[in-house]
């Protein structure tokens, strides 16, 4: 692969302790100026991939290239070119928003006066002026996320990594955060690599998407390309309890590309849901099975996710990343209250 993109992953592998393979031969390229979404269930390898790309973790195999620089040989130079917004909240609660930004600028070797200027500018851009001199621990979730975005931008990176950036935010906070990211991309041409649990965000914000499962990329493309791969709409037909199998009754109907039986329900992929519904209801009725419910779904990334990972995006075992984030926020609050 020619390493000309902003972010290039070539056959990246990460094995922990010689046993657990978290990332298993991941390859992709993100052109400059794009917003690239990296989706996958918990434990799929998203954060490990971000860590390898952002010079936080040494790959077991393969290579990562950022803005033309091989990460494993140029960790420091790569860190100067990228900004990383981590999954967990990393703002220093005992420092004000302004102090957080000034300290962050100092860690990139930026002079005190320049750091002060950049902090002031970013505070205004992120609409944090009123809270700039308040301790970050008093910020709301949305304000804290905006502060962390500002911290990630203080050294003016060319590439921004966002690892679950809107976790735990309300819809207004999520919309606000993405508004800032889009404005940033439009003004600076910055490349953005984002992992997210919110498929609607990925659908509307990302130019291209890759889905990772069990450490491997299982699908990639633009949101529309991925949805087109599903073959159109998905109609769910629910028959009366105990009715005989209607799969072979539905399958020959016009426009049907696949039928999946799940108990008394049939998940039918078709070119047009609206055309299929009356045909399917009538066919089932004639075959002796009463239809008790029908739903038509336009293809969404949820469907794409289900198709390629075999799992509903939210049907995951154990606490989700959101649960963990909320839990950590509570622990942090309790500890800060005591310290």
């Amino acid at each position: 692969m020619q390493a000309s993109g902003a972010i290039v992953a070539e056959d990246l592998v990460k094995v922990y302790g010689g046993k657990v393979t978290a990332v298993d031969g991941v390859s992709f390229e993100v052109p400059h100026g794009q917003i690239f979404g990296f989706l996958g269930p918990n434990g799929a390898g998203k954060t490990t991939t971000v860590s390898m790309l952002s010079a936080g973790l040494r790959p077991t195999g393969g290579r990562a290239v950022i803005d033309g620089l091989e990460v494993s040989q140029n960790a420091e130079a790569v860190k100067r070119r990228i900004g990383v917004i981590f999954q967990e909240s990393t703002a220093d609660g005992d420092l004000t928003g302004r102090e957080n930004l000034e300290v962050a600028s100092g860690t990139y070797g930026i002079s005190r006066s320049e750091g002060h200027f950049r902090a002031k500018t970013l505070i205004e851009e992120m609409h944090l002026s009123d809270a700039a001199d308040r301790y970050a621990k008093t910020y709301s979730g949305g304000m804290r996320r905006r502060l962390e975005l500002a911290v990630g931008l203080v050294h003016r990176p060319k590439i921004l990594f966002l690892d679950e950036p809107t976790l735990g935010l309300d819809p207004q906070g999520r919309a606000g955060f993405w508004g800032f990211v889009q404005k940033l991309r439009a003004e600076t041409g910055m490349t953005v690599f984002v992992t997210t649990h919110y498929l609607d965000e990925a659908d509307t914000m990302c130019d291209r998407i890759a889905i990772i499962d069990h450490g491997k990329i299982v699908a990639r493309g633009t949101p529309n390309e991925l949805k087109d791969k599903l073959g159109g709409d998905v109609v769910t037909v629910k028959t009366a309890a105990g009715a005989s199998d209607m799969s072979e009754v539905i399958r020959p109907l016009a426009g049907v590309s696949a039928v999946q039986r799940q108990g008394d329900s049939y998940r039918v992929k078709c070119t047009s849901g609206e055309t299929l519904v009356p045909l399917a209801v009538e066919a089932c009725y004639r075959a002796g099975a009463g239809v008790t419910g029908v739903t038509v779904k336009r293809p969404s990334l949820d469907e794409v996710f289900l198709e390629f990972t075999g799992r509903e995006f939210r049907e995951e075992e154990g606490p989700t990343a959101t649960d963990k984030a909320v839990m950590m926020q509570r622990v942090r609050g309790a500890l800060q209250g005591r310290r």
């Binding site: 952002s54 010079a55 936080g56 973790l57 040494r58 990460v71 494993s72 960790a75 420091e76 130079a77 860190k79 100067r80 990383v84 981590f86 967990e88 909240s89 990393t90 220093d92 005992d94 420092l95 102090e99 000034e102 300290v103 962050a104 600028s105 100092g106 860690t107 990139y108 070797g109 930026i110 002079s111 005190r112 750091g115 301790y135 911290v151 950590m328 942090r332 500890l335 310290r339």
Partner: protein, 271 residues
């Protein structure tokens, strides 16, 4: 490097200043020791053994007050490593490591802030103990020798070296470990034996010969010997303060050297 060090050190001092409760309790502990333990445990040996018992100090309190400097050097640096572990748990350490700031700046900033506390506390302890000697009804630190500029510099060096040494040790342990409970278990395994094998608190004359001998290699004893010799005269000491300072410097250099190797390995990029 200097800008990164300066920014991170500023952060450490800001965090310290934002927790007045922590400052208050760190002052309260030595105050209580000086006020209760020192006054209550005022051992009085036979007059002819006084010099031997307290290595030239006029009373136990004066002997103990110098030892308290060693005591606070350990107790006030204990939490330095714990703060690193909490910063790891909250992702703050990860964010710092995500920047190009060199590991020397990450370590150095915490070391400067961490060592500043025991240094300031040492002067608080000495000042308070001297003040007590002027309060009717209380015993205090009676400096019986003429200190002079050289003596003052020797005391300052002993306090700074001891603070740097313990701050380095506990900071390194905090960087190497990830679990607070494990950290405190390891730290307790270090601080108690180090304190209890020194002559910081025991009257010298009451220590068994084997402990008198081994304690002379203990870094706390080395620092406290410098203070006592400067404050009470060289009569009972076989060596000049400079010799004890050299021993303390050797401890500091060896431990800092080990810390550099371990910390560089733990904080190397891409791990």
């Amino acid at each position: 490097m200097l800008r990164e060090l300066s920014a991170l050190t500023r952060r450490e001092f800001l965090k310290l200043a934002r927790n007045p409760q922590a400052i208050f309790t760190s002052l309260l502990l030595p105050l209580l020791y000086l006020l209760l333990f020192g006054q209550g445990f005022n051992v009085k040996p036979p007059p002819d053994l006084l010099q031997y018992y307290f290595r030239g100090a006029p009373n136990y309190y004066s002997y103990f007050a110098a030892g308290m400097v060693g005591f606070v050097s350990v107790t006030s640096t204990l939490f330095i490593g714990a703060n690193v572990i909490f910063d790891k748990l909250f992702g703050i350490f990860k964010r710092t490591r995500g920047t190009p700031a060199p590991s020397a700046a990450v370590f150095g900033s915490r070391l400067i802030a961490g060592a500043a506390q025991p240094i300031l506390l040492a002067f608080f302890v000495l000042g308070l103990a001297i003040l007590f000697s002027h309060v009717p009804g209380l015993t205090g630190l009676d400096v019986t020798a003429s200190v002079g500029v050289v003596g003052a510099v020797e005391v300052l060096l002993a306090i700074v070296l001891l603070a740097l040494m313990f701050a380095t040790v506990f900071l390194t342990i905090g960087i190497l470990l990830d679990v607070p409970q494990v950290y405190f278990a390891v730290v307790n395994l270090i601080n108690l034996p180090v304190l209890l094998t020194s002559d910081a608190l025991y009257p010298w004359g009451s220590m068994p010969p084997w402990l008198q001998t081994t304690s002379q290699f203990n870094p706390i004893s080395l620092a406290v010997n410098v203070l006592r010799e400067v404050f009470f005269g060289s009569g009972t000491y076989p060596y000049a303060p400079g010799v004890y300072l050299a021993g303390l410097l050797a401890w500091t250099v060896v431990l800092v050297g080990i810390a550099i190797v371990l910390v560089r390995r733990a904080l190397r990029p891409l791990d």
